[in-house]
Amino acid sequence: MTSGATRPTDLTDLGIAAIRDGVRDGAFSAREVTLAYVAAVEKARGLNAFIVETPEHALAAADAADAARASGELKPLSGVPLGIKDLFATEGVQTTAGSRILEGFAPAYESTVSANLFAAGAGMLGKLNMDEFAMGSSNETSGFGPVISPWRRSDGGNAALAPGGSSGGSAAAVAARIAPGVTGTDTGGSIRQPAAFTGIVGIKPTYGRCSRWGIVAFASSLDQAGPMARDVRDCAIMLEAMSGFDPKDSTSLDLPVPAWEKGLNPDLQGKRVGIPKEYRIDGVPESVGRVWDQGIEWLKDAGAEIVPVSLPHTKYALPTYYIIAPAEASSNLARYDGVRYGRREQPEQGGLTDMYEATRAAGFGAEVKRRIMIGTYVLSAGFYDAYFNRAQKVRALIARDFEHAYKEVDLLLTPTAPSAAFGLGEKMDDPIAMYLNDVFAVPASLAGLPAMSVPAGLDGQGLPLGLQIIGRALDEQNVLNAGLAIEQRAGFTHRPEAWW
């Protein structure tokens, strides 16, 4: 991995580690790699993965990397062009969070996570499409149109599929190989579910590892950034660069960032992996259970001991989430008032309140309005105790379930999502059916735990399925190690055929 880097025919076959090592060893220049990715981004516009393309940013970073190599001052991500989810504020570059209410908003500052990546030598290919304000599981709530998954069913029908969400542009970009790695954010599965749908790797670290400063807020007690890439090693490399204490985020953890890449070890001897029985639910396709059973065998083969465990409050996680997240969103999204940034609608002869109401009516999409109204309702006088306070208590019980399980085991293994990717339009009429996509992802979010999705196989229609590994708080290393053990045994080399 560290020497003898070679040059592939197609430079977009290079992932993050390969670019880093090849630039260092002189197998190719950073500029060549970046030009190949810039061309791939342009060619793939039909996927609608990017809202804004910034080739000049990526090329400037590449030239800096080539100069750094000449002077012997390479950085951890020198010359690696990345995609940045449009939830991250990028200085001088439009940042919309997928919402028309922020169209044209060019922040005067850089988010801490993107600043960390750029300080590590990475460049930006552009801003990635996403569900509006990260509220969605299919990327169909974006104000800029849905992202089309690069994957298609093997039935030859060519139906347009959802890449998952909310980090759908991020997932599609990695799966289509138009970016070697991207940032995502995960509030209730928004990194893991799209990673599973598109056959890539994504990790949500422990809450507080990555600064939230400069990330457009959705539900602040849940929002957490993380990397999405082609393999576990690339995720470890990116996560190291993204993480770290930030005094500008009051919930940022003041802890050193472990050397996750160096610590990668797929030998799971002595590790105990729990299989939570509550994650076997009705109505889930047989293929999901089959891949889960296969994952159990792979972890045994890697030396782990498999232990059945119980997380009794699992079934309450999703309804708990759909009180807490909308409540926090209704408060966070109060700032979009047409005064300080973004869109303004001024009805003729209307006053200030009319302007607020018209601006928010015109600027927000249907799902965002729905969630703001749910949140407003559960926080309103007379209902706060029955809904919000009770949900925070159940949330404590869900976290306690995990604490009990981690007295017996080191990790948990579950499916990432209850199905493979679905077609665009198939679930938009039924909010609760859409919410059920995150049934396996939300519990770890509520407890703030690190969790990762790794591709494990294909379903009967040739679509990717992912496995989720959940770890103890701050134990990203063992999550990554178990992910690596699965990755090595799954040998998942499937990729969508380029039709775009």
Binding site: G208, T251, A334, V339, Y341, G351, M355, R370, R390
Partner: protein, 95 residues
């Protein structure tokens, strides 16, 4: 929990979102469905459980009470839909 159109209008008012009659008619059953679905939390025994306030134990930090930022008025106003005389401008509030 059933949400009627009167309640939808009240919530929309609190949330400062203008809603048309058609939207109210669509939102009432949608919100009722979602609120009916989260009702299942009522069956959980939460006796003696403290509401969660932080997922990872983390003491909130205090910093010195000093000015650390400022003097960037133009940057602050740069994205305003309307700014006049160095201020954000809004429709007339006081007659």
């Amino acid at each position: 929990m059933s949400v009627d159109s009167h309640t939808v209008r009240h919530i929309a008012k609190l949330a400062r979102i203008a809603v048309s009659d058609a939207e109210v008619a669509a939102l009432a059953p949608e919100l009722s469905n979602i609120l009916g679905w989260v009702e299942q939390l009522q069956e959980v025994d939460v006796e003696g459980v403290e509401p969660m306030t932080a997922v990872i134990p983390n003491k909130l930090r205090l910093r010195d009470d000093v000015v650390t930022d400022g003097g960037i008025r133009d940057a602050v106003l740069k994205n305003a839909p309307m700014a006049e005389h160095g201020f954000f401008a809004v429709p007339k509030v006081i007659e």
